[in-house]
């Protein structure tokens, strides 16, 4: 029977990780990397936000893309959940609605990697009114 992992094993991993990585300072400078906020209120969770967040974290890690994926509250787009807010460094944030795993994959491949916007962006109309 395999041994079950515990905190002593985590300590070993900590030493290995610390010795081989230069700590990325994403936490201190999130504006320098791709930021994704997944709306994680009742509406988002009930519509599958958890799966989308897990998928984004796993896929971005797998592809080695420097990014910070965090959870956020309801952005008021309950009708379009799951929603994510994507910020590419130096650009205005955009919000995608009705995000599925397929859509999330497309967002990574096209918007994050090639900087091509996709269908499904929720228009930020208040900017137009201000202008």
């Amino acid at each position: 029977m395999n041994k079950i992992k515990n905190l002593a094993d985590l300590k070993k991993l900590q030493s290995e990780v610390q010795s081989k990585i230069k700590l990325r300072e994403n936490g201190n400078h999130p504006e320098s990397v791709v930021q994704i906020k997944v709306s994680m209120a009742t509406c988002g969770i009930a519509s599958g936000a958890k799966e989308i967040m897990t998928y984004m974290i796993d896929e971005l890690d797998h592809q080695g893309i420097d990014s910070v994926v965090t959870q956020t509250g309801c952005m008021g787009y309950c009708y379009a959940e799951p929603t994510i807010e994507l910020t590419i460094p130096g650009q205005q944030p955009v919000v995608y609605g009705f995000v599925t795993k397929t859509k999330a994959h497309e967002i990574i491949e096209k918007h994050i990697k090639l900087n091509e916007m996709l269908d499904g962006i929720i228009p930020v109309t208040y900017l137009l009114i201000d202008n």
């Binding site: 985590l10 991993l13 900590q14």
Partner: protein, 182 residues
Amino acid sequence: MKDLSMHILDIVQNSIRAKAKLIGIEITESPDENRLIVSITDDGTGMDSEQLKLATDPFYTSRTTRKVGLGLSLLKQNAEMTGGTFRIESESGKGTRVTAIFEFNHLDRPIIGDLVGTLLILICNSGKTDYVFKHQTAAGTFELDTRDIRQTIEDVPLNHPEVRQFLKEMLQENLEQIQISE
């Protein structure tokens, strides 16, 4: 909500919004007593008696982005639908405790679901919030305190991919050991 892990993720968001520094999540499965208890406690801002009265009203929310607040009402409805009970206690400035009791063998009791996914999202995005998790079944007890994890990994971030993968495996292995229902 499809399962209890989603309810837990949802209710914990309330604690996070209430600026809780320490959140307790406790699940107790007692098939012999035909009970499954989910309890979430926090040391956040809490609610006064007026807010507490309205907390499970689906048309009450403290948010301004929308006019409904369904999280607690859905959990209450789900618990009561199985012949169980729902209780919320809160004190302004001290914190809140939400307890939902389900009939374990009831046909409509939601499954526990992807608890590992829920815990991983909470732990790896915890910021300055700590979690104490306890899951008790007839097969044993699993306890996890993120303060111990932080102490162990020192300045390695909790959301580091290798730490995340380790925690995922640790949670899966430990929860499988005590699993008695889905």
